[in-house]
């Protein structure tokens, strides 16, 4: 990846409101075994500046945040300056990090405690002679909240606040922990992913207030609308490399999309599924107007032998489809039929009886029973074939487990191995085998190859191909778009709970998934949370 435009752009001042450098890092790299997550990254962020950090899943955003907050240690050679002084990036408890505060999507507040307590936990209570001075403390917190346009009583429990006030409390807590003049770095990690549009605007105001007070804000978001609305500058990461840094003013949505997606035509693997006309098969799974809190009514039909992908960013409602079909989530409305028969939705048992198998996102605790062995997990969904005369036959069970271990190449090849001792790829193969054994009519998968090595990835998709040859219908949700583009017949792309596109054939590329997943336009996000 080229980073030629970086040097040119660095000198540009952009719309930064202040000019004092808060944090500047140089030559920041991080290598994980077998993968460089971040390469020679440099950036400078100023007081009063709201700086966007954007890029795809796995582009290195979270690695960067973790390096700045001290969760990871960078590769040797990186240097940093904080408020003009050279600081240590390698010690996680360095003093300067007290002035760096990251707010993640879940806000990190304690719901069962009051606003005062939540804020004071960060910086300590105002006290006189060892006794907490509640009155002074309340006044102080109230004043801070007013500055951010929040009029909640500081004595209220965080749990009782609206989502918006909670976000403000989180920001107030962050800036109140910094030094008196609020010179510090505030990192917001996907702050808008779970907020309805109206509240997003209020959050923006709070972020602007923080910046006006002198904070440097690093704003991480998937939503281009956020970047274009609130940020002064933007840094774009792609595959661990900084591909651009520039001022936001004058930047169009299309230009920004282009920067994030890049020219992938050279690197995108070609579509590996043979282009077969799947519509010749019988419809196996039909969804009609299935809706949930996050998902606008969606209808889709999956034919026998077809692999359908569902793509979307976090918060797009991408997993609601699999959650509803497996019976975990009760939909707000709509109907499902499997093989022409209506399915009573909202019950795991009915879904299983209809032949729907679910390979969930979390291998533990959803996919596998952690205290059990490979063979015990394999037989759990259907034990009929290993029970003889009312007695569970260890021999039949081990024989069957050995057959699956061999055909899936699960290592180690020991039926009595505890599943917790397996690698991610082998554990996922056990989950797959456990469901393939039941010969499902519909296979649902969430992030089927997350944390799985390349070899196991291949055998997992081979296994799915095999089951489609037997007439199964497969629905896979994933944030790995290359994988969906390569293995699916059709991909539904969701943004904010709405289907943006249904891609197939030549249109089905990583690029087109990426473009469509970013949604349509500003302010279109539906206010479904209220």
């Amino acid at each position: 990846m080229s980073s030629t435009d970086v040097g040119v752009e660095l000198s540009e001042k952009g719309a930064a409101r202040g000019s004092d450098s808060v944090l500047s890092v140089r030559d920041l790299s991080k290598t994980f075994p077998g993968q460089q997550a971040l390469a020679n990254f440099s950036m400078e962020i100023h007081a009063g500046e709201i700086h966007a950090l954007v890029g795809h899943n796995g582009c290195g955003k979270s690695t960067l945040i973790k390096l700045i907050t001290g969760f990871h240690t960078p590769d040797p050679g990186a240097t940093a300056e904080f408020l003009g002084e050279s600081v240590d990036l390698y010690g996680s408890s360095a003093h300067w990090r007290e002035h760096v505060h990251a707010i993640h999507q879940d806000l990190g507040l304690i719901p069962s405690m009051s606003v005062i307590d939540n804020i004071a936990l960060e910086h300590g209570y105002l006290s006189r002679a060892g006794k907490i001075s509640w009155k002074a403390e309340r006044k102080r917190v109230e004043k801070l909240l007013r500055e951010f346009d929040s009029y909640v009583d500081p004595r209220e429990l965080v749990d009782d606040l609206s989502r918006r006030d909670q976000a403000i409390v989180a920001i107030v807590r962050a800036v109140s922990g910094m030094s008196d003049d609020s010179s510090g770095l505030l990192i917001l990690d996907e702050p808008t992913a779970t907020l309805p549009e109206r509240e997003v605007q209020v959050l923006f105001d709070a972020v602007r207030t923080a910046a006006r007070r002198g904070c440097a804000v690093l704003f991480v978001s998937h939503r281009l609308a956020d970047v274009l609305t609130i940020c002064d500058r933007v840094t774009v990461l792609r595959d661990g490399n900084k591909v651009a840094e520039r001022s936001v003013s004058g930047l169009t949505r299309d230009q920004l999309t282009e920067l994030i997606v890049g020219d992938r035509s050279a690197t995108t693997p070609s579509h590996s599924r043979p282009a077969v006309d799947r519509s010749q098969g019988d419809p196996v799974l039909e969804l009609k107007d299935i809706a949930t809190e996050q998902l606008s009514p969606i209808s889709l039909t999956v034919y026998a032998g077809e692999i359908v992908g569902i793509a979307g960013l976090d918060g797009s409602g991408r997993e609601d489809v699999t959650r509803v079909l497996s019976g975990i989530t009760q939909p707000a409305g709509g109907a499902v039929s499997v093989g022409g028969e209506a399915l009573r939705v909202g019950s795991i048992k009915h879904s299983l009886d209809a032949g729907i198998a679910m390979v969930p996102r979390e291998r533990f605790p959803e996919g596998l029973v952690s205290s059990m062995t490979i063979s015990e997990n394999l037989t759990l969904p259907s034990m009929g074939s290993v029970v003889k005369g009312g007695r569970l036959s260890r021999r039949l069970e081990v024989d069957e487990a050995e057959r699956w271990i061999e055909s899936m190449d699960i290592r180690p090849r020991l039926p009595d191995k505890d599943v917790v001792e397996l690698s991610g790829g082998n554990a996922q193969k056990v989950v797959m085998a456990k469901w393939m054994r039941t010969r499902p009519r519909v296979v649902l998968l969430e992030e089927p190859t997350a944390g799985v090595d390349v070899g196991a990835k291949r055998s997992i998709w081979e296994m799915l191909d095999g089951s489609t040859r037997d007439g199964a219908a497969v629905v896979a949700t994933s944030s790995d778009w290359e994988e969906l583009a390569a293995h699916c017949d059709r991909v539904f792309v969701l943004a904010d709970g709405v289907v943006q596109a249904v891609l197939h054939g030549q249109e089905l590329t990583t690029d087109s998934i990426a473009r469509n997943s970013m949604g349509q336009s500003l302010g279109k996000k539906e206010d479904s949370n209220e």
């Binding site: 605790p365 061999e406 085998a433």
Partner: protein, 349 residues
């Protein structure tokens, strides 16, 4: 059908190479592994305690009736412990089982002494009470989502208070000799309740280890979400384990009444701790990290040898509670520790 999706020739080749080493591994299981300290440490603990007390008290400790008495006493504890074990398998604690034993014992004694009821009818009433308590516990835990520890601590206390209200703290001696025969009568010098306890242990072992129902119960205890997604009717199973626990509590109550010849007010709590200690010490035996019936029985015997020995040495009565309390903490620490060494997911992200 169960035949896996066969791959290609490459797989076949790998298989033939590997099956040799695999069968080699399987055959490596030797008879002496059965006796490894790791698998049956409690047996070795029992042997050590036995040797020590034999040395210290050669006259008292090696007497035949010391042993038959101890086994008779422990038979009730075994049944209570099985009542603890079955819900724990599904990840649910039943703290009320010992109080169920106390209440059913009192009810039996009152029905037989004050109402002249035949022991069979009284025993049926006792078992019915056990079932009702199990259902109540099950409803509180599965429908009102109260944590099982808290829920059954609550019901246990309530049951204990009802027990006291009924008996007023006094015991009612029973004269029905056919009933007393169950408690006192013996075969080959060993009291009937011992055989009953062992029979129940065999049934529990068979169901937990050798049936699909038992396997699903373990799955709930090991990973309730995965079990639910695999189609296990979790609520129904948890409910059933608690009903079984109530019934075992009632059986323990019936046998205790028969052994003592009366109800024994205030004795319930002293059965609870040994029961829990045995279940968790048992989890470090035979099947490492997994509670199981025979591990529980072995643990009870080992603990009883220790307690009996201290008794005979002449240490005061408080040593019982002291000993079992330490044993419970030690057993929990051991089972957590042994899990920690195996439970760290290796390559899981």
């Amino acid at each position: 059908m169960s035949s896996p999706l066969t791959d290609n020739t490459e797989t076949v080749k790998r298989d033939s190479v590997d099956s040799a080493s695999k069968s080699g591994k399987k055959d490596k299981f030797q008879w002496w592994q059965v006796l490894s300290v790791k698998r049956i440490s409690a047996v070795y603990l029992a042997i050590l305690l036995f040797a020590y007390f034999t040395y210290r008290l050669p006259d008292l400790f090696l007497r035949y009736d010391t042993w038959t008495t101890m086994l008779g006493q422990q038979s009730i504890t075994i049944i209570v412990a099985l009542g603890v074990l079955i819900p724990v398998t599904a990840g649910v604690f039943d703290m009320s089982v010992a109080y169920t034993m106390g209440l059913t014992s009192t009810v039996m004694a009152i029905l037989m002494v004050q109402h002249d009821m035949s022991w069979i009818v009284a025993a049926l009433v006792a078992i019915l009470i056990g079932v009702v308590i199990g259902i109540l516990n099950g409803l509180i835990i599965t429908y009102f989502k109260v944590s099982s520890l808290i829920a059954t601590l609550g019901t246990g206390t309530v049951i204990g208070s009802i027990d006291f209200a009924l008996s007023g703290g006094s015991s009612f001696p029973i004269r029905d000799t056919s009933f007393l025969g169950i408690g006192i009568g013996s075969l080959f010098g060993i009291a009937w309740p011992v055989y009953i306890a062992l029979a129940l242990a065999i049934v529990a072992w068979f169901f937990l280890e050798h049936t699909a129902v038992g396997r699903r119960t373990y799955a709930i205890g090991g990973g309730i979400q995965a079990a639910r997604l695999a189609g296990v009717p979790v609520r129904k199973y948890i409910m059933t384990t608690l009903v079984l626990s109530g019934v075992l509590g009632a059986i323990a109550g019936i046998l205790l009444t028969a052994r003592v010849g009366a109800n024994s007010p205030g004795v319930s709590a002293s059965f609870l701790l040994p029961g829990f200690a045995a279940v968790f010490l048992g989890a470090t035996q035979l099947k490492e990290g997994r509670v199981n019936a025979w591990g529980t029985v072995i643990a009870i015997i080992a603990l009883a040898i220790g307690a009996k020995g201290f008794d005979l040495i002449g240490v005061r009565l408080w040593i019982h509670d002291f000993f079992y309390g330490i044993a419970l903490i030690g057993a929990m620490a051991m089972s957590v520790w042994s899990k920690r060494s195996t439970l760290e997911p290796n390559g899981a992200p």
